[in-house]
Amino acid sequence: MSHNQKLRKRMIRYRKANGQPAATCAAWLAVRRTKRKKTPHDYTQLEEIVTQRTAALSTANRQLQAASKVSTIAITILEPENLVRQVVNLIQEQFNFYYVGLFLADRNRQYAVLHAGTGPAGAAMLRAQHKLPIADNSMIGWCINHAQARIALDVELESTRFANPYLPETRSEMALPLITRGQTIGALTVQSTQNAAFSEQDIAVLQSMSDHVATAITNARLYEATNTELAERKRIEQEREALIRELETKNAELERFTYTVSHDLKSPLITIKGFLGFLERDAVKNDQERLKSDINHITYAVDTMQKHLKDLLDLSQIGQRRNRPEPVPLVDVIDDAVSLVSARLTARHVHLEVAPDLPIVVADRSRLREVFENLLSNAAKFMGDQPYPHIEIGARQDDQETIFYVRDNGIGIEAQYQELVFGLFEKLDPTVEGSGIGLALVKRIIETHGGRIWVDSEGHGRGSTFYFTLPAAK
């Protein structure tokens, strides 16, 4: 094959691959066909053609490289909003366009909503929540509707394009559909300040890039949805676990409650039946002394039972709110409680100290009064032989919550009994008056308010401090 034949073949192949009307090629071949001797003029023509083609190829190459760069970066970004922002900036920089905007179809596919736009114009349109109906009256709408790229070489002549005050210098525009898995999820708009800036060839390169961008957006959306779903599931799982723990606690509490109640209600019954039996015998024997004692035991057991039943009723009613929680100045509640137990405090010569800066809390006022009433009377009751009985009420701010305390310098509670004291009918000292309901009641009130209660004591004779939390007033 001669050199000329080779050259010719290459030119034809180029034309075919290019698909462009190869007018200059044909002209040159015509020159070749005349088999004239090459003149300097011929060479000049050839050089021109080569230069043109080289420029075209290098432009195509640059475009392909730019498109490839955009695609490569796009697939690495997993956060959808960040992805679209970066994509428009990349395209604008890489291709040196006047403006690049990215629209995504909304849920109902009614509007194409602008999700990213370059420069101040983009920022302004995003602020204005720019959107276009997905219909044939805009380039973007048409492009999404038809899943096809569209070029407006001179925007002034383009009927589907509305004059955009944000982008006054646009002379030509291209809309590229974002297609992935057969669905058009949105469109890109690229705009130039030059007339006829876009060719059919540009469409091929940019459309391939747009396909990659569309896939990247879908992937990022899926990734985000998966992550959201995962977080949601984790949250639900955690909520479920917390609920199970709460139910387990409640269940254990209920079990303890039933156990205590069955014991404490059965116990006086045994006493009553027992002494009724003795009573019968003692009546026959006419033992007046014992008869009296039998009757005393029976009476005492009946009273105990009655008291237990009343306490149980009180306890069960705490669950049903007596009053709605309201903002209550703690000082007022403490004043009320102090006036109710003042006899006991005075009798025991208790010196009471209340902190001056107590906050306002959201609580059922009368229930909260019962809390302080019980804690104060409890503190006074267990002063022992303390010569200078002292009770201190105060609050301290922790990281998250306010912790209230009632501190005394009485007999204290040894570490191993500190949890026991809140138990129903639980009395550490059976000789002390009272039914053992007080602190169980206090605990239940605090818990129904969403707070916690605990006791701290360095041991016997070292005083006790009861701590509790309450939700703060907002």
Binding site: Y259, S267, I270, K273, G274, L276, Y300, Y417, L428, P430
Partner: protein
């Protein structure tokens, strides 16, 4: 350690219940020496001759310990555990006498080597019968190496 043939240690915080038990024993003429303590600490003091029970002659080793479960401070189960893991006290028969019919209490009591578990009957005739049987069984029929 000296033993008095009919000594029973009764650990019961409810004075009325203690009186029913003691009077029933007296009615049946089974036990003549019932030591009644109100809580677990006092029971240990008795068994180990401590505190108010210092001096061996004041606290003969009981033939049987009658133990209530719901006691202030040290619970009946805790006391049972202490007795059954104690070098010299572990061989004393411990009989739980309680109002509790809870499975959990039964299981824990047997896990801690209780010798018998009795639920206090509400009915007086039955209560009285139980105490009679109990006395006859543990003080008459039952043989112990040190008696």
């Amino acid at each position: 350690m000296p033993t008095e043939p009919n000594t029973i240690l009764l650990v019961e915080d409810n004075p009325a219940h203690a009186e029913i038990v003691i009077r029933s024993f007296q009615d049946h003429h089974v036990a003549n020496n019932i030591i009644h303590v109100l809580d677990g600490e006092a029971a240990l003091d008795y068994l180990l001759h401590r505190g108010q029970f210092t001096g061996v002659e004041n606290s003969p080793r009981p033939r049987v310990i009658l133990l209530d479960l719901r006691l202030p401070k040290v619970s009946g189960l805790q006391l049972l555990q202490e007795i059954k893991t104690h070098e010299t006290l572990s061989s004393i028969p411990v009989v739980i006498l309680t109002t509790s019919e809870a499975e959990r209490d039964l299981a824990l009591a047997y896990a801690n080597h209780v010798n018998s578990y009795l639920v206090k009957p509400v009915d007086f005739a039955k209560f009285s019968q139980l105490i009679d049987d109990l006395g006859i069984y543990w003080l008459d029929w039952n043989r112990q190496p040190w008696s």
